[in-house]
Symmetry: C2
Subunit: 324 residues, 2 copies
């Protein structure tokens, strides 16, 4: 049974204080056996048996990456963990340890921070990763800073290995979170399955290693938009990529959203992020089960290396998200 | 010779764009030979020869941890790196790799971000550490999120090993940054040596390993205030600590500030942070050169474990900084 909530209803961060909150947060995070020194010292100490670590970091800012009225603290915790765990997945590795920094206004409810931590811990538990350290400070808006450490059991899959003749393949649901975000942005709460997909992405945490073992030549996770991520692969690999519209099965709820909002439902699939599906390239004979071939890698054409086309032509819709 | 600045004078983050800035920032960060995959992929990959990593994370928020009118971008970069490198120093280890997340308003000058990165890189170079990854996003105020990885060549020194009969010892200048912050807060820019100490701390990066090799029983770096950090050691170790006023040589510029502001100059030493001096406990016969004995570890008295006294009595001044 979960412990009762430790703070009075409505208590703010200012009410409970930094050290009171840190004590409760630390209690939420369980430590794996690889954690030699956990939270509470100047640094954590982690056993590393593989001879290397894989490391990535991400920021999430309130009002930009999430809104507290659109998602609970627990949801935001799940999303923050998921997008970082997914970065290790996209290398073909597995996350083992995370640190999390939380900057927040003094009038934030302490309960929100606890809910956030629980969602974060629950998402990490899906891959067996431990939250080994963190920081807590005051800011005008909520900012979540996560760093994830992991390891690969085979060679890491980089963005730069795609070769002409490879196929582009996708694993995991794609466009769902973008559809959910679109309806939330217009004040709706349904289709519920899409809203939930936005609030709690379900990255295919086992697919990265499978792809690496199958010889994926390049890989990335779709956080900012499928075509934008394809362009990152193409650019890093010095190739061009053509995506085929007809390769995508657009899920029924996206058709409903497209009809309601007057948008092409495929635009959520091609331009949407936040689901943390995996996009990878393989030799045509080497595509593992569960991956859908959605395009081809070609020699760079007139548009140069990094160009991404859709059915052989430039795409005129949004390809992804930019931060400035 | 340094490369010329790549952006037109006054260009903002919005003007140069996320990817334009990331390209220039990445150019600033040189990679050590342990970096197998550097910035630009979903994650970095680092060689680890020691069988473990030491990891810590910190947030710095504009208006709370720094002000852009009090310190240049380069200064803030130095400070952000120093406070993280110091956390590894306080374990008796050495930093090898850092990630840095920068959240900033769209109208921030791109030059500030470049200056920040240069200061950050220069500070990391003092210990031979590489900046291996990062994230850049938009926020209402500047927030810097740093995670540092490192390694120990002897057993990490925790906060929890102090024993009654040990002495408390300090290495590095202490109170200087607090004096500098106090004069800046009142609109002055001198004594310059204190203002510079606040803008660019000079942590004793070699002292942590020396202390570990000498058998330090506990250690912490002074980021939030000497008495507050002593209380962390006492609390984690289940002991009490008495600090001796007469053990500190108060530097001349702090006397000047004390006189000008009507404050006890020793209060900057006892309550000030930000210099990232090291505070450690040793057996009385085991204090290494360069460390000043400033107190004693005792059995917990009536005030219980974690109590810190000054000359045997409770201290009534500020002991350190709290975040909420």
């Amino acid at each position: 049974m979960a412990a009762p909530d430790p703070f009075p209803a409505g208590a703010t961060l200012a009410d409970v204080g930094e050290f009171g909150l840190i004590g409760e947060l630390t209690r939420i995070f369980e430590q794996g056996e690889h954690v030699l020194v956990g939270p509470g010292d100047d640094a954590a100490v982690l056993r590393v048996r593989t001879g290397h670590v894989v490391v990535s970091t991400d920021l999430m800012v309130e009002g930009r990456h999430f809104r507290r009225e659109w998602a609970s603290g627990e949801d935001v915790g799940h999303r923050a963990a998921a997008q970082n765990l997914s970065d290790i997945n996209a290398m073909g590795g597995r996350a083992t340890s995370l640190t999390v920094g939380l900057a927040a206004p003094a009038d934030l409810e302490a309960q929100w921070a606890l809910d956030f931590a629980r969602g974060f811990a629950d998402e990490c538990a899906l891959v067996g990763a431990s939250v080994v350290g963190g920081d807590l400070t005051r800011a005008d808006q909520v900012v979540v800073a996560v760093t994830v450490l992991g390891a690969c059991t085979v060679s890491p899959v980089l963005r730069s290995g795609a070769r002409p003749g490879d196929v582009l393949a996708l694993h995991g649901r794609q466009g769902w979170a973008a559809g959910g975000l679109a309806v939330l942005g217009r004040g709706f709460r349904s289709p519920r399955v899409l809203v939930e997909a936005y609030r709690r992405p379900a990255p295919p945490y086992d697919a990265g290693l499978v792809a690496a073992e199958a010889g994926a030549t390049s890989m990335i996770d779709v956080s900012d938009g499928l075509l934008a991520e394809a362009a990152h692969l193409a650019s890093a690999s010095g190739v061009a990529i053509d995506v085929r519209r007809g390769a995508f099965e657009v899920p029924e709820p996206l058709h409903a959203v497209g009809a309601a909002l007057g948008a092409d439902p495929l635009s959520f699939v091609l331009g949407g992020g936040d689901d943390h599906a995996l996009l990878a390239t393989f030799e045509p004979s080497g595509v593992p089960d569960g991956w859908a071939v959605v395009g081809e890698v070609t020699e760079p054409g007139d548009a140069g290396a990094g160009a991404v086309t859709v059915d052989g032509a430039p795409y005129d819709g949004p390809t992804g998200w930019t931060h400035f």
